[in-house]
Symmetry: C2
Subunit: 192 residues, 2 copies
Amino acid sequence: MSESVLKNHINSYLPLSEEELSEIISYFEYHTYKKKEILILTGKRCNKLFFVSKGCLHLYFIDDLGYKKTTQFAMENWWLTDFLAFQNQKESNFSIESIENSEVLSISFSKYNELLNTFPSLEKYFRNIYETAYGAALMRLKYINSYSKEEMYFRFQEEFPEFVQRVPQYLLASFLGLTPEYLSEIKKNRFS
Amino acid sequence: MSESVLKNHINSYLPLSEEELSEIISYFEYHTYKKKEILILTGKRCNKLFFVSKGCLHLYFIDDLGYKKTTQFAMENWWLTDFLAFQNQKESNFSIESIENSEVLSISFSKYNELLNTFPSLEKYFRNIYETAYGAALMRLKYINSYSKEEMYFRFQEEFPEFVQRVPQYLLASFLGLTPEYLSEIKKNRFS
């Protein structure tokens, strides 16, 4: 199942034969993770790039008070890692954890480079993925600098209602820079 | 001069011949901008991607009170546009302005695609650029969620001292989410 999700995603950007797609998939490892399993730990060498075919992961760090703070979520068809650390084969600045039971394809840094050398047409696929992800990050930085945290929550809820339903509320709060208590206040006032 | 800056930058990622590099450059237009010229205006179709060979640009928006807020700076060897709007050929969510006298190479969306079709090896170059830019944006989002605005300024100053010297302080303040007055207070207290 996971394999066909990635094949379809690549195929939506690039016309490749079934044979090529199957060879591409052979560079990946398939994993299932239960909710709350750790895939990468802060401070360990970041040697994996993940594609989510089912479920949800998050990229997070632990703040000075010991709270998890989510920097990025990744649901179906998303790629996730600490990209700077992965690119430079350094220690990760983030941890990655499954927040639902998840199915994931992973690729090591050496396999990723081998894959891109063998199938250079995949450079186009990843160029598009990262171009969009970077553009979206700039929009997110704009929102952070434009809106109050309360407005951020309502905009987010309007734009991604399914997402807001799906992720644990204390992680959604940390993603928006709120305390869980404040998020719960906002929601209560909204519906009271 | 601008041409050789871009050629060298591409060559640091990809081994291409002088002939190929010259053909690549022919897809670009060369511009010089005086300080405070507008390159792209919010709300207009975003049809250009910019490479800075000299000087500095910034990607900004105007907030509700009429203040400019910088989301991204681009100095020598940086690429800049509203990537989501460029990719989808939509109205820009940002304006782009030169904050120094600048030399810039620009490419239109249709030329960009033509260039990538003619020189598919450039996909690797842009994949690397955007992979790094996205990774850096995730780190910036982590810092925003980790540090006070005051700490952000000192970390930024430590990591990019030349940059802090070079950009106008009211734009640096907006980039860090501070008021210019508060930034000036922080700096005064630091050195008093």
